[in-house]
């Protein structure tokens, strides 16, 4: 009988380990002056250095060092006064020099931590994820395997190599082993990567786009029998490419390992790949022996020795931590926990904040983004931010506040903007979506409605206020929905002697 997740966590204690690779958004590569822009024609952003041509030499990008220090400080690390680069030697066609320049035993940042909050059965709980190191390295090129069924190198007819990515600065952020997360391990993993991503974004050091590969996560997990205190053998799931997948990969891997252990099978220390469709992992290419990278100090580079004064300067420029920033916004906007969480989960907090910063009411901004815009985005299977800008939403909210649009009209405007009919103002103009605010025009519609339904009007006159609904509906219909229903009601009731 196969164990389910709940059975697994009842019998086994997971230990997590997370390695996150982040591409920095420096203008130039780690060791040369080539552009790092994403999406250029293959091999157009290369030079002798990043192609590893004979005789070329690397020179460290200062901005990348600064970014590494920012990241280290934001993750509560100590910044090494002296760190070095090493060579990691292995042969692969997308590695121009057949070694990668990377930090090895002397990384730039060590011993930090990141606290994440998880909604547990006992309320919100803080888990501390300790960080072992943050180190700098260069990215590899990309291989495109043509022909063959799998898109992998084996069975391919031929392969194409693009070295535009080769040499882009990468930061590797490695946690220490994270024990004690129990059944929340998958959520802790996700929350950690999410928080890390938000920090990196707030620092402005990376685009942190998982789908473009600028943030990649390798998730490790092992299980040990509850209370045994013995560490189990871990597996490493490579290149998990969304936050949701991080959570699912750990979850799936815990079930797989739990069942193997239950059947008395051994866990093999191996690299695995995450399968989006099933939420399971499959083994990567198995290696007979451990890879020997023959690390040694990179003789072409001098040690990185940042000045203590410079580090303090950088510390002063660090932005507010995303967690603190969130708390501050929640207080300022008086948002309940649940709705705050919804905004964060939908990844719309920054967008809502930007909308509020343009003058919109926080509650309105939140409800438009999470409501109508998200609904349309869902239909089209895109992100809400791809449909509208904070400025457009703020403009619409302002028009409602000024009484120039009703909520209903505003939804038409949103639809128009989303369909590419132009700015809110242009959509209003083209579709003629103005509120009928002219009282005399409304009065004639009201009179016409009363004339058409004299019995209903009489009931209202005699005090049956709810009956007014039918008349209001008729007026709204007659004005094509462009009237302000509240104003219609007010005028109607006054007219029928029920005002005040």
């Amino acid at each position: 009988m196969a164990l389910k997740y709940d059975d697994v966590v009842a019998k086994y204690e997971p230990t997590l380990g997370l390695e996150v690779h982040v591409e920095l958004n420096t203008n130039t590569k780690m060791f040369c002056g080539c552009s790092t822009e994403f999406g250029a024609e293959p091999n157009t952003q290369t030079c002798p250095v990043c192609l590893g041509l004979p005789g070329s030499l690397p020179v460290v990008n200062e901005v990348a060092i600064e970014s590494a220090i920012k990241i280290g400080l934001a993750l509560n690390c100590s910044i090494a006064p002296f760190s070095r680069f090493a060579r990691k030697n292995y042969f692969y066609p997308d590695m121009p020099k057949d070694y990668q320049i990377s930090q090895y035993d002397e990384p730039i940042c060590v011993n930090g931590y990141l606290d994440v909050e998880i909604d547990t059965d006992e309320g919100v709980k803080v888990f501390r994820v300790e960080i072992e190191r943050v180190h700098m390295e260069e990215d590899t090129g990309k291989s495109l395997h043509v022909g063959g069924a799998t898109g992998r190198i084996h069975g391919a007819e031929y392969s194409l190599l693009d070295y535009n990515r080769a040499g882009i600065p990468l930061m590797e952020i490695v946690t220490k082993m994270v024990p004690g997360t129990g059944k929340y391990a998958p959520q802790v993993a996700r929350a950690y990567v999410t928080e890390l991503r938000d920090i990196l974004r707030s620092l402005g050091v990376s685009d942190v786009k998982m789908e473009q590969g600028s943030l990649r996560c390798d998730a490790n997990v092992s299980l040990s029998p509850m209370g045994s205190g013995k560490l189990g053998t871990r597996s490493e799931t490579k290149n998990v490419n969304s936050l949701r997948s991080v959570e699912r990969a750990i979850h799936g891997e815990m079930i797989r390992q739990g069942n193997r252990l239950e059947n008395g099978e051994r866990i093999i220390q191996e690299t695995r790949h995450f399968l989006e469709e099933s939420g399971e992992t499959r083994p990567g290419r198995s290696k007979e022996t451990a890879e020997d990278y023959r690390y040694f100090q990179e003789p072409d580079l001098v040690p990185v020795a940042p000045d203590a004064g410079w580090i303090e300067e950088i510390r002063k420029t660090l932005p507010e931590k995303p967690s603190i920033h969130r708390k501050r916004l929640q207080e300022q906007w008086s948002v309940p926990d649940k709705e705050m969480a919804a905004m964060v989960n939908a990844e719309l907090l920054d967008t809502v904040e930007a909308t509020v910063n343009l003058g919109a009411d926080p509650t309105k901004a939140r409800s438009w983004w999470l409501g109508e815009v998200s609904r349309l985005a869902n239909e089209k299977d895109v992100a809400p931010t791809e449909l509208m800008t904070p400025a457009q939403v703020a403009e619409i909210i302002a028009l409602i506040a000024a009484g120039e649009l009703t909520d209903k009209l505003a939804r038409h405007v949103v639809e128009g903007v989303v369909n590419g009919e132009g700015t809110p103002a242009q959509v209003i103009e083209k579709r003629g979506l103005k509120v009928v605010s002219d009282d005399s025009a409304l009065m004639s519609a009201i009179e016409a409605a009363i004339a058409a339904q004299p019995d209903t009007a009489e009931r209202v006159r005699s005090g049956n206020i709810p009956a007014a609904g039918a008349l209001i509906g008729a007026v709204m219909k007659a004005t094509g929905g462009q009237a302000d229903a509240a104003r219609v009601r007010e005028l109607l009731l006054n007219h029928l002697g029920q005002g005040n």
Partner: protein, 499 residues
């Protein structure tokens, strides 16, 4: 055909006086190369078109009255390990037979800017690994003093070109003695500057922490003139020294060593050194004493381990530096017939493209860096390196410069040591410690050994960034010896080429 036997400095004067044009001077050298290089085989590639274009440009500028660098219009031979845009750069290997680099090394950029006329690329041991130039994939170079003998290595092409009067200036590179040992066995002058004095950008790496390009010529002053052209800080090389270049030309002209303390390294002499080598070396010391210097003996006990440590560090770095020759982006490709995968093509290419000595060192280095062996080999070798630096520090506390014979023997016969790598490695016993410590070293001729009438080299070592001192001592010694002999040693070299 009278200009080719001049020094570079004399050629420069003739150019300035418009007694000869740069174009004519280049053509005289190409004629000489045509006449003798069939026997010597110093060059792998000649760039007549580029050289003459540069010479014409210099002549035009001179005619227009532009201020030119002292070496403008003077020809030079470039070791085939430095990139020159569009010109084959083979490193003496089949691996790069048809590779034309798309960029200039910094050394070449500076030579071009100074108006130096680059005649072509010179032969070398494959990827600079060797002491005889026999490891070139394109056949050996012959010593102009005796064509049956080696011209030293790895830069035997450059030293032979100088000794054969095919060029008055040459560029070499020195990882364990590849400038100085060839200079010693060909009766020429070669300098390995302080590590970081000359940019390594565009120098195809053998052992990055030891490699250093340097100037070669037939006189100390010519070497100094070239030194000032190629040295200086380069932002493209992180290991490049960011400090002013010492005034080596002025130092070469000083001709004064009064009161200087000259330390003779006890461990670099005696047993294992050819008798004739020791004799000439001691006579040179006497000349320095006559010139007013004081000789002191110093001991460097850790030099004993230098060779062993070198043959761990250099191959280790080489195993990584040479990994890039995998056929994927440039150079040789073998087995690309659709029946082999990428990994097999890499393997077949490296099997076919590298020579025996290169493979030996790659295997040695790969082994030394392997996990489980790193500490015992690479780690220990790095410790020896530190000890060698300390030995030098202690010795330089007692002496301004240190001296030794450059090589233990004169030029040996081609083929004589080809099957005995250790005997071959011993050629560099006196030059390797300099690279290990990153200091400067010069070799200049101090006469012919009595047994074989072949040139003997005198090595001068100076503390890091004090390269001017070796030019000062070398210039003084050269002048004293020339006046003793009545003419430079090169005037005794046999005539070359069929009449």
């Amino acid at each position: 055909m009278t200009n080719i036997f001049k020094s570079a400095q004399e050629m420069s004067s003739a150019l300035v006086a418009k007694e000869v044009s740069a174009v004519d001077l280049a053509n005289e050298h190409f004629d000489r190369i045509e006449k003798v290089d069939g026997d010597v085989h110093a060059f792998l590639h000649l760039d007549k078109e580029g050289a003459l274009a540069q010479a014409r440009d210099v002549d035009a500028k001179r005619a227009a009255g532009e201020k030119l660098s002292p070496l403008a219009g003077v020809p030079l031979a470039l070791k085939d390990v430095l990139t020159q845009k569009g010109i084959p750069t083979t490193c003496g290997s089949k691996m790069l037979e048809n590779w034309r680099p798309p960029y200039d090394s910094t050394v070449v950029t500076r030579l071009k800017a100074a108006g130096v006329v680059i005649l072509g690329k010179t032969n070398m041991d494959e990827f600079a690994m060797g002491s005889s130039t026999e490891n070139s994939a394109y056949g050996p170079t012959h010593n102009p003093w005796d064509l049956s003998r080696i011209p030293g290595g790895s830069g035997g092409g450059s030293s032979a070109a100088l000794a054969a009067f095919e060029a008055p200036l040459a560029i070499g590179t020195d990882t364990g003695g590849s400038i100085r040992q060839p200079a010693a066995v060909t009766g020429t002058v070669g300098v390995k500057p302080t590590y970081g004095a000359v940019s390594r950008y565009g120098l195809v790496a053998f052992s990055s922490s030891l490699d250093q390009a340097g100037p070669c010529a037939r006189t100390v002053l010519d070497t100094a003139l070239l030194h000032e052209v190629i040295a200086g800080h380069d932002p493209k090389d992180s290991s490049s020294i960011n400090a002013p270049v010492p005034s080596v030309v002025a130092a070469a002209k000083k001709l004064d060593v009064k009161g200087m303390k000259i330390g003779v390294i006890k461990e670099l002499g005696g047993d294992g050194f050819q008798k004739g080598v020791s004799e000439r070396f001691n006579e040179a010391l006497e000349e320095l004493v006559k010139a007013g210097a004081e000789i002191v003996e110093v001991s460097c006990p850790n030099f004993e381990y230098a060779l062993a440590a070198y043959y761990l560090i250099a191959p280790s770095e080489a195993s990584s530096n040479l990994a890039r020759f995998d056929s994927m982006r440039y150079g040789l490709r073998v087995g690309d017939d659709g029946s082999h995968g990428a990994e097999e093509v890499m393997s077949l290419t490296r099997q076919a493209g590298f020579g025996k000595e290169v493979k030996r060192r790659i295997i040695l280095g790969t082994y030394a860096l392997s996990s489980g062996y790193y500490d015992a080999y690479y780690g220990s070798a790095q410790k020896v390196r530190t000890l060698i630096m300390r030995d030098y520090e202690a010795a330089f506390a007692k002496a301004d410069v240190l001296v030794s014979p450059t090589a233990p023997t004169t030029a040996f016969k081609i083929g004589e040591k080809a099957d005995d790598p250790v005997a071959m490695y011993l050629n560099d016993i006196a030059t390797i410690p300099v690279n290990m410590a990153g200091i400067g070293g010069m070799s200049l001729p101090c006469g012919l050994a009595s047994e074989d009438n072949l040139p003997v080299g005198f090595q001068i070592m100076t503390p890091a960034m004090k390269d001017d001192l070796m030019y000062q001592v070398g210039g003084t010694l050269e002048a004293a010896l020339n006046s003793k002999w009545g003419s430079p040693l090169m005037s005794q070299a046999p005539a070359l080429g069929a009449k």
